[in-house]
């Protein structure tokens, strides 16, 4: 008799640990051929609450890491992905991606992580300034992380989209609570396993799986999420904006659609800038 394979129970990555949904709910995921694949955690607002709490706790420590250190950790994450890219490509193909697209997505994703690793210790010089005020003061502006940022990833491409949205946000010291693609959630489960071995402190990135319809309004209104970065349709955008008004959240929508995520224009300093606050400090120049 042939060997029965050991199947994996998908668990979401919250606070540096792998957990099932707090509400003990799951949803069934099938692969592209229609065959049963696994029961995926159906995260709810309780999981979001836990994830935000973890992200908030991890925030100050992550923000205090030196930019050089954050750069090396992002680079290390790229190393983890490169080493396990075969597994990630297979997971994308299994859920319907063309192999060429899956492979291209992986190389772009790894390169993109390195792109942002390099930004970690540079963006402050480009976004900040010393300001020539007309009074005897030393006046300077520095970018600072906003805090907990909610990321809502696209369904296509599920993994590259998620990576492209998380990387610019954490490069500057923010922490993330992300909702993975509802249609193709499994690559995000694998990503969690890679995050866990990448030296990224627990809680800096928290990944949830579940239904957009349930989760989007919860992201919109959670008062401790300071900003939202979402790949969203028109209705979701409106819901996010409405919810954001209650606590004056910053909202940014992901612009690329489909193949545009593969392009170099889907990355860069502007995305880092959207998730920093600019702080200006004044001090008299005296004797």
């Amino acid at each position: 008799m042939s060997r029965i394979p050991v199947t994996k129970t998908p668990k979401v990555y919250i606070a540096g640990a792998f957990v099932r949904s707090e509400s003990a709910r799951t949803f069934k995921v099938s692969d592209a051929s229609g065959a049963f694949f696994a029961n995926m955690p159906q995260c709810t607002r309780k999981d979001l609450r836990n994830a935000v709490e973890a992200a908030a706790k991890a925030g100050p420590g992550w923000a205090r890491r030196t930019p050089y250190n954050r750069a090396q950790i992002l680079y290390r994450l790229a190393e983890m992905l490169e080493a396990r890219s075969g597994e990630l490509v297979e997971s994308l193909v299994r859920f319907g991606a063309r192999r060429a697209d899956a492979e291209k997505g992986m190389t772009v994703g790894v390169d993109r992580l390195i792109h942002y690793a390099g930004w970690s210790d540079k963006y402050a010089q480009l976004l900040g300034s010393v300001n020539p005020v007309a009074s005897p003061h030393f006046n300077f502006t520095v970018p600072e992380p906003m805090g907990v940022v909610g990321v809502i990833a696209p369904d296509s491409p599920p993994l590259l989209g998620l990576l492209s949205m998380i990387a610019p946000v954490i490069a500057s010291g923010n922490t993330v609570v992300a909702l993975a693609s509802e249609k193709v959630p499994y690559p995000a489960i694998l990503l969690g396993e890679m995050l866990a071995t990448s030296d990224l402190p627990g809680g800096v990135v928290n990944l949830l799986t579940g239904f957009r319809k349930e989760m989007v309004p919860t992201f919109a209104t959670h008062a401790h999420i300071r900003a939202i970065f979402a790949a969203a349709d028109a209705d979701e955008r409106k819901a996010l904006r409405l919810g954001a008004a209650a606590s004056v959240k910053r909202v940014r929508f992901a612009e690329p659609v489909g193949k545009a995520w593969f392009s170099d224009s889907a990355q860069g300093l502007d995305l880092i800038r959207d998730f920093v606050e600019l702080k200006t400090t004044w001090h008299p120049i005296g004797s």
Binding site: S129, A245, A246, V248, E277, K279, T281
Partner: protein, 493 residues
């Protein structure tokens, strides 16, 4: 014994306190007001479609200054149409030419500075020494600074090309009418946008006086349009489909309403909202300088300042000393006629704002904080409120949480650096903060940990066109001033 104590107490006060009375020193320059102000649309003063006007009064004596046009939705449509027509030329004009108009505006405003200062003080109630030495020169400086950016758009966003957005809708508050107007107009115009702006209902006059300068500067018709009126016209300006972007300065409550109003659109937004700044005094601070900074922080412009240092956090070991010096200091603040050159605190901007201040002050007393008010005579007519301190304030008191927007300081104490940070950040706002200490490393630590867009260390309430200003959290988003502020008025291609 009792007499002896009294003498000692008197000695510790500032000796010039009540030894003599000052002679009146009124500023007498002619503000050159018109009896009636129309809307400014398409480069011309135009009557509102409704034919209606409302009175703008002097809050110092409640006398009418002028009639102001009441705009309606149809007027807002006309203003947007004019701006949109003007954008065709303005948006594609070479930056160096666009900049020259802004330089002209700065120079013409400097020429008429005293006249504008008097008009600003009459209309808004702020002391002439502030409108003369701060509001008007700073407004001119904003035009001058941004004028020089107009031909340097390629330096605004590294690695990207920037383009103007189109027509920008702007709504500004009544606390710094001309200065807020300059903060809004100058970067928008420098980046090649056209503007529809609504001044605050109680303080429209200097905007409409500036329209005269825009005409003298030969700014192309429709590049800037002013519509006047109350909140519903503000909502019409913010919600107009012709706006590519809106910028709002005002209360957090109204800012949230605008965010909801625009939720279904792609409109870009800048929000400069309320604040409840902590001004933190450590025991090694230069105490006399700190006291001056605290006074400036909360009593500047009668406390009608979104970034006012309205929560004083003072280290317990020096609290008694600081509070006693503060009390002595505010006893000699001069409250009264805003046009008098010796006046420190002028009139509260409106009857409505005065009642808001009174309501919050009453809540402070009711909730158990201890109130101290400087003994001063207030004029019989007009809206005034004496400089007020509250001690024994706790973090849950309304006067420690809500923006009072008046000359009212809530004093709390702390023991350790961590406690100061915790208390300072314990607010939904995050606009500004102050730190007073002699220790450099502590200043930098505080500056890093305070969740506020502007941190003043050993100073307070400083502003400059090159210095980005704007909030964290519920104090809004986007920046005004500096290279960083320009990005809120351009699109990236």
């Amino acid at each position: 014994m009792a007499t002896q104590r009294k003498t000692n107490e008197a000695r510790s006060r500032l000796i010039f306190g009540d030894l003599w009375e000052y002679d009146p020193a009124p500023e007498t320059a002619d503000p050159k007001l018109k009896e009636r102000y129309d809307l400014f649309i398409g480069g011309k003063f135009t009557r509102p479609r409704s034919g209606k006007y409302f009175a703008s009064i002097n809050p110092a004596n409640e006398r009418k200054l002028a009639d102001i046009a009441l705009a309606g939705a149809a007027d807002v449509d006309l203003a947007y149409a004019a701006a949109s027509r003007a954008f065709v030329r303005w948006g594609s004009m070479p930056g160096r030419e666009r900049g020259k108009y802004l330089f002209r505006i700065a120079r013409l405003l400097q020429d008429r500075a005293r006249e504008f200062a008097v008009a600003e003080t009459l209309d808004g109630g702020k002391p002439i020494k502030e409108s003369r030495d701060f509001d008007v020169p700073m407004a001119a400086a904003h035009f001058f600074y941004h004028a020089g950016w107009a031909d340097k758009l390629e330096y605004v966003a590294p690695g990207r090309r920037v383009v103007p957005l189109g027509v920008v809708g702007q709504v500004i508050p009544w606390n710094f009418p001309l200065l807020m107007l300059a903060w809004k107009l100058a970067p928008a115009l420098a980046m090649g946008n056209c503007v529809v702006l609504k001044p605050a209902e109680t303080t429209s006059i200097t905007a409409l006086k500036l329209a005269e300068i825009l005409q003298d500067a030969e700014l192309p018709a429709g590049v800037v349009n002013f519509v006047t009126g109350a909140g519903e016209i503000g909502a019409a300006v913010m919600g107009h489909p012709g706006a590519a972007k809106v910028a709002f300065t005002g209360s957090t409550e109204v800012g949230k309403a605008i965010m909801r109003q625009l939720a279904g659109t792609n409109r870009k937004m800048t929000m400069e909202l309320g604040g409840k700044a902590a001004n933190i005094v450590f025991d090694d601070a230069p105490i006399d300088q700190a006291v001056e900074g605290i006074v400036n922080g909360i009593f500047f412009n009668q406390g009608h300042v979104c970034c006012a240092g309205s929560r004083l956090l003072v280290q317990e070991s020096v609290a008694d000393q600081v509070i006693s010096k503060l009390k002595n200091r505010i006893r000699v603040l001069r409250v009264g006629d805003p046009l008098d050159k010796n006046t420190d605190l002028g009139a509260i901007n409106s009857r409505e704002q005065l009642s808001t201040i009174r309501r919050l002050v009453a809540s402070g007393v009711r909730e158990g904080a201890v109130m101290y008010q400087a003994p001063c005579e207030l004029p019989e007519r007009g809206f005034y409120f004496p400089p007020t301190l509250f001690t024994r304030v706790t973090q849950s008191h309304r006067i420690a949480r809500e923006e009072i927007f008046g000359p009212v300081l809530s004093i709390l104490t702390f023991r350790t650096v961590d406690e100061a940070i915790e208390k300072a950040n314990n607010t939904a706002f995050g606009l500004s903060a102050g730190v007073w200490t002699d220790k450099g490393s502590r200043i930098l630590r505080m500056s890093t940990e305070l969740k506020a867009g502007v941190v003043w260390a050993n100073t307070f309430n400083r502003f400059d066109p090159s210095s980005p200003f704007g909030g964290y959290k519920e104090s809004g988003f986007g920046r005004e001033g500096g290279r960083q502020g320009l990005l809120d008025y351009v699109g990236l291609t």
